[in-house]
Symmetry: C2
Subunit: 413 residues, 2 copies
């Protein structure tokens, strides 16, 4: 006997689950022979397996002491290491009252969102942005307003005007090498953003997964590192080990004013009690071993070469047909098709040719504002030769698309 599923009365943000256009591309990206510029994944072959194995083996020798329930805000060993690392980036904090370990930067953002936002509240996020960041804000029931972002990062004129009108509680940015744009906010504009935070009394939540992956240009400190006086009360800094150590650790952290951080820890108690103390000890040991500072320059150097290769290939095979600004760090190019073809129409041709990217529209909180000609190209996961080959394929795909050639691949809308 079978029964029809009842109509569950889900909470409003979950009534119609959002599809994940990026995840749905993964099947194509994983096809043998396919060159994927679609993922937001770091380069797997660059993971420091040896260093992690050493740290893990050291922790195994004292495993009996790492298995019990642990402090919600994180292991003391790791909090101290992360406070040191944050201070090196200019974000000085007290690990006991201003820092907490989280399940990646995603959980850090989710926790801050949850303690600040409820239905009827407003939050701003740069647009385009990483869809899971938008979701973390939306799932609180608050209204999320996109603020246009370009090569300079978030539009501060628009932000100022909108903030005066809408009174957001939070403004979320990836200030260095943003996902998907690869854009970096300059020091002057970061200072201006801090002024706006004080003026409009909103928390700036800076997600900084890529900041250490600068391979060109001049260093710019995190926003929280530039905050003085009152502005310090409005700056939250979050970061992660996912792009420098490994995503599967699920270790990130937040640095926030004590009153905000205390509530985030309370939220985490009800969310998952703590991040794995075992894994935290491995990460702390890895940092204490000095492997982190040995390893990050390797990633930075490799990504720099890959970024150069992508820029060269775009010049060589698609000169005049795409526009882009070469990023100075991180993992992503934001490219724009100059012609009639839009990135969604091009995609099946690209897949047919064996190359995959993410159409830009996947990154707009408001689809009506999406730039149909934009695309995100990741250069992190392929070597230079594959990158060149991928862009050659993309050029062939664009030829076919512009010629309105028949195409064998059909994608769900």
């Amino acid at each position: 006997m079978s029964f029809a599923a009842p109509s569950y009365a889900f909470a409003a943000p979950f009534q119609t689950p959002a599809a994940s256009p990026i995840r749905s591309l993964m099947a194509y990206a994983m096809r043998p022979g396919s060159i994927s510029m679609a993922g937001g994944y770091p380069a797997q072959e660059l993971f420091d397996v040896e260093g992690l194995t050493i740290a893990s083996t050291q922790v195994l020798a004292r495993l009996g002491g790492c298995l019990q329930y642990s402090d919600i805000d994180g292991q003391a060993s790791l909090k101290n290491e992360l406070a040191r690392l944050s201070a090196e980036r200019g974000v000085v904090c007290d690990p006991g009252t201003e820092l907490a370990v989280t399940g990646g930067s995603q959980q850090a953002l989710a926790l801050v969102s949850r303690v600040m936002l409820q239905p009827g509240d407003h939050a701003f996020i740069e647009s385009p942005a990483f869809p899971n960041s938008v979701q973390a804000l939306r799932y609180t029931g608050a209204t999320v307003h996109p603020v246009a972002s370009g090569p300079q990062g978030i539009d501060l004129e628009q932000l100022d005007e909108m903030a005066g009108r809408i009174r957001p509680k939070m403004v979320c940015v990836v200030a260095s090498f943003s996902n998907p744009c690869g854009a970096t906010i300059s020091r002057e504009r970061r200072l201006r953003l801090l002024e706006l935070a004080v003026k409009h009394q909103f928390l700036i939540v800076e997600d900084d997964p890529y900041g250490e992956l600068r391979f060109a240009g001049e260093h710019v400190p995190p926003i929280a590192a530039l905050a003085d006086g009152q502005a310090r009360q409005w700056a939250v800094y979050i970061s992660t080990m996912s792009k420098t150590m490994a995503p599967s650790l699920r270790i990130g952290w937040l640095v926030a004013p004590a009153e905000v951080r205390r509530r985030c820890v309370g939220a985490k108690a009800a969310d998952d009690m703590a991040s794995s103390a075992w894994v935290q000890e491995i990460v702390a040991q890895y940092l204490a071993n000095g492997r982190y500072h040995e390893h990050v320059p390797r990633i930075r150097a490799a990504y720099g070469l890959r970024c150069d290769a992508l820029a060269q290939a775009l010049h060589k095979h698609l000169d005049g047909r795409v526009t882009f600004i070469k990023p100075e760090g991180g993992m992503f190019f934001w490219a724009r098709l100059n012609g009639q073809a839009d990135a969604t129409r091009l995609l099946p041709y690209a897949i047919e040719q064996g190359v995959v990217y993410v159409p830009g529209k996947a990154f707009y909180a408001d689809p009506a504002q999406a730039d149909p000609h934009a695309m995100r190209l990741s250069f992190a996961t392929m070597n230079e030769s594959l990158i060149a080959q991928g862009i050659e394929r993309l050029a062939r795909a664009l030829d076919a698309c512009e010629a309105n050639a028949p195409v064998s691949v059909s994608l769900a809308a």
Copy 2:
């Protein structure tokens, strides 16, 4: 120059962070020579360090393949093992559509709460209950109503009456060896609870951390295992490795109707992207190695002896002065002082004597309903001799308390 902290406009559930009366006792519980019956921790000396080391070493040999971003709902290896384990408990499910790996059972409860509840909604939880479970419900902004629970578990008459009136979306219970009561709901009453779920259209969320730790009496299947027909659509089962393998793994799981589970996975994407694939592989390997089924009987046997020792000591040293029902599994006794002394007034005397417990009132969602004479005594973390000694100390503390003797310890209210 220093600035006063601004008044942040926190979301309503976070405006006044809840204190954790249990955590605040830990300082006393950790004092050298102190006997703690306060924690909800499993016995540390029983962790299968050898088995976990073996599994971890096996995973280290293939670590390079366990470091990348992974599926939100869990590693296939672990989902299959957990589906098998759930099926052994009578909860048969499709690991692809009805099961998801979570950050302990705490995250499972938080995810279900979040997809179901929003401000204006209602949820029921048995009372007394684990405070973090109450918080997971409250943090959604929904109203949480306690339903009285006793030696038989949740009061089904009261539940039926309240459900007709209040229309809750969720009802949360620990059906086997509850925390703090040690109570188990009988098979007949589980079936009746399923009828009520269909009648009132609420999800039963059964948190089952202790079900395998039965050392006396007759096995009762989980509620979801007893659900037939329409009732299956209203039964959610959640469990954890925290009490059988180790809390610091932070690995739990949920089994839910596909429509509910799908949204929980969407919520998890925005919460923490996934649980650590590395740890998931260790847990899957441990299960595949057969260590789990070898190890759980050891915990069960040890806890059975400790439970007996606690019952004997209560008879010997506090006969007639406390009332209790001996649990058939799990980790907790719920005891009630028969005389004038209440459990909060007794506590400083107990700490002075070197024994710590949690006053029962910490477990009531509505403090006005709290039984001031109740206390939770954990028997999990001490051997039989320490348990006997702890209760001897408690008896001395009760003498001093009833005699209104001066006491050196002073606790915050």
